[in-house]
Amino acid sequence: MRLALVNLSYLVASVLFILTFKGLSHPRTAVRANLMGSLGMLIAVVATLLLLDWGPGVQRYGVILAGLTVGAVIGALLALKIQMTAMPQMVALLNGFGGAASTLVAGAALLEELAQGRLPSTQSTVATVAAGIIGAVTFWGSLVAFAKLQEIMPGRPLLFRGQQALNVALLAVSLLLGAWLVAAPQATWLYVLIVALCTVLGVTSVIAIGGADMPVVICLLNSYSGLAACATGFVLDNNMLIIAGSLVGASGLILSRIMCRAMNRSLGNVLFGGVGAEVVTGAAADAVYAGRVKAASAEELAMILESARRVVIVPGYGMAVSQAQHAVRDLANLLESRGAEVEFGVHPVAGRMPGHMNVLLAEADIPYEKVREMDAINPSFAQTDVVIVIGANDVVNPVARTDPKSPIAGMPILDVDKARTVIVIKRSLSPGFAGIPNPLFAADNTLMYFADGKKAVLDLVDALKQAA
């Protein structure tokens, strides 16, 4: 009876998780959706506590409560303290913790079976191996992603000879050891060894990936953390874990696919391509820029903006780095108060995780209807008076359309060059992540404003106010 009740609670929790994803289809229902998800989690936890035999000692409470308290305090502190610009790091870290928990649970479950004198079923051991491999790669891969995003480690790809061969070998040996563990579940040291090998694999596979490819890595690790939970579900024969885990697994996979498509690259190319390791400078860059780049003063730009009727602002990672989102909001409001129509154009891979720019603009109180997707905004550039590009580079590089040999060939871009005037706010002419020069900066209709993103926008706001 009690078991049936617990399982019914798990069903309720699973339904709530599905409704969470469904509710995220619109900003209006999203807050409620997230609350439903947390309610589902609460129900699942309470039901599980009821599942335990509370008979003799009360020390069971102690360990669980201590763990829940420590975790809740750390989690809450992280969630409340983190800056919106640092959201990619935060998500990377949380992905990792989820993966680590799954690896630990699967290992503990194996030991428990053996301690009770039972041999785990083949299904259970196969799932244990899967949870060990996926969980360990997720945890260590996420820590590396975190270190790169937090700039504790260099963001560029770290490559060494034989890296891919090593990765393949690590995975192959892990799988072989896994097969051995399935045949001989008593040999628990095999599990430890698998986790150790996958620790190395997590590190060596993610260090090869450069900063701007992080959106894909975060999605993928997100997917892995779900699949690890799913594998744990197979270990414990728990349908709720399987449902919740596969929902997350699907979510991460879909997002990775969207990100890859937005770069016109395959997942394999992102993971193993080491793109961004080389930078084109010197003569090749001079050929594009020499004598053609026009820098303007804030006053000149204010004069152009004054008469603009339609302005589109295109933010990139640079906006996040300089924390310019609030200044950008002030600029947009000022332009609107002078009768201009202002919209924002966001490329799917702008920033360091999917939707990164949207969150920052929302933080600055910019209504979400004004923030348009690439496909929605692209046709409107030809009727746009001024585009302000702030901290974006590769996603507005027209070379993607013209040069089939370029590393970004075929990548869908924001067609800002079609606008009457393009203002590019950038600190220097240094290349973006793809390491190639951007002819947009040298185009006839482009004016450069060389400064830090936030300072530049504030300068423009001041100049516009003075012009009034």
């Binding site: 409340l80 630990l104 999605c219 197979f234 024969d237 919740a244 929902l247 997350v248 979510s251 209504p367």
Partner: protein
């Protein structure tokens, strides 16, 4: 073997449900989707609580305890930060 058939059924069907509902999430909400789904992947907390509560051996209790800590950070941090973000998305 029968159990495997049932769990596999659940897995495959859940994947399909996942693909159906998640493709409808607009790009605007992709960051909250990632952090929110992240919190849900902390569901492994359920298994962690069982290990920490069963207390069969010192080692499994320790592993369970650590797993409870990690999973709770994931769950609490994930839902809370998602809530913080979603509250900022406003209509004009």
């Amino acid at each position: 073997m029968e159990v495997l058939a049932i769990t596999l059924t659940v897995f495959v069907l859940a994947m399909f449900v996942g693909f159906e509902v998640i493709t409808k999430v607009p790009p605007t909400l992709h960051t909250p989707l990632t952090s929110g789904s992240n919190a849900i992947s902390g569901i492994t907390l359920v298994g962690a609580i069982l290990s920490a509560g069963l207390q069969l051996t010192t080692l499994t209790t320790l592993l369970g305890f650590l797993a409870v800590v990690f999973a709770t950070i994931n769950v609490v941090g994930g839902f809370l930060v998602t809530h913080r973000m979603l509250r900022m998305f406003k209509k004009k």
